[in-house]
Symmetry: C2
Subunit: 138 residues, 2 copies
DNA sequence: ATGATTCTGCAACTCTGTTGCAAATTTAGT
DNA sequence: ACTAAATTTGCAACAGAGTTGCAGAATCAT
């Protein structure tokens, strides 16, 4: 686990620090998509809000995590499955958010179906988010 | 235009006020998906922030407008195309957000493709948002 | 080990969104 | 058209989310 976090940081050209390893560990342990405030609470030892913001930004920029927009206006972040090159994310899977427990999950088995946009539109990223009730809460 | 706003309000059982007609007019005129701050600026005469929030909430609740989540953490709102019953939205179309001009558009011609979730997940709402460059900015 | 670079945490600030309340407006009944 | 009840508005005050600048601490490369 510790090792995994370390190599993720190295592989993406980020310097290895306690905070970054800590935050990555939370992602690795929970396997969930987490909000900013989730992280502030869960990571061992109190984290500075500002540092969390900047760390998440760095991770997104390097393609370590991706952003999941939700209709309740609270962004979630989740580990990228495969190698995401800097800036360009290949996370074309569906995301699920449970109305009951609030947990956000990557449905890795389910890719976002491709759509054909009307003439003139150029597509860069797609996101598909399903809201509903998850297996645990049903 | 004026008439249209008025009948929308009546049809959804909301009392008719200057503010509500004004906000609806902006939606009708622009035909775009607007953020909260778009509205604060655009509506004729200065609007109180709080009133705009409450008006949008009321409209969403009554099915007059729907919410579009974006990955830059700013919700957009857009008129519902058809009759949306209270609370239950039938806006299953794809949304597009331009990275260049920032405008959000409903692609009414394009329905969100249906997906089959893994066993145990119960689906309530789906949203599909495409980020890219729109015809005007290309 | 050391200097250069990067990261962290603090303070202070802005922006976003919410709540309570009194005055103004709208609605419905007569 | 008038009035009472209900709803809406705008203000003030607040809570939370997110940003910026900077000095000290940690990390990296040599």
């Amino acid at each position: 686990m510790e090792e995994q976090a370390l190599s993720i940081l190295r592989d993406h050209g980020l310097s290895v620090t306690t905070v970054r390893k800590g935050i990555l560990d939370v992602f690795l342990k929970t396997g969930q998509a987490l909000s900013h405030s989730d992280l502030e609470g869960q990571a061992s030892g109190q984290l500075d809000r500002v540092t969390v913001y900047r760390t998440l930004q760095a991770f997104v920029g390097k393609g370590i995590i991706h952003v999941i927009p939700t209709s309740d206006n609270s962004l979630r972040y989740a580990l990228c499955r495969d190698a995401c090159v800097d800036g360009h994310h290949h996370d074309r899977h569906v995301h699920f958010i449970c109305h009951h427990c609030g947990k956000a999950t990557c449905i890795n088995q389910l890719d976002v179906p491709s759509v054909r946009l009307p003439r003139g539109y150029r597509m860069q990223e797609v996101s598909m988010v399903v809201h509903g009730v998850c297996p645990n809460c049903d």
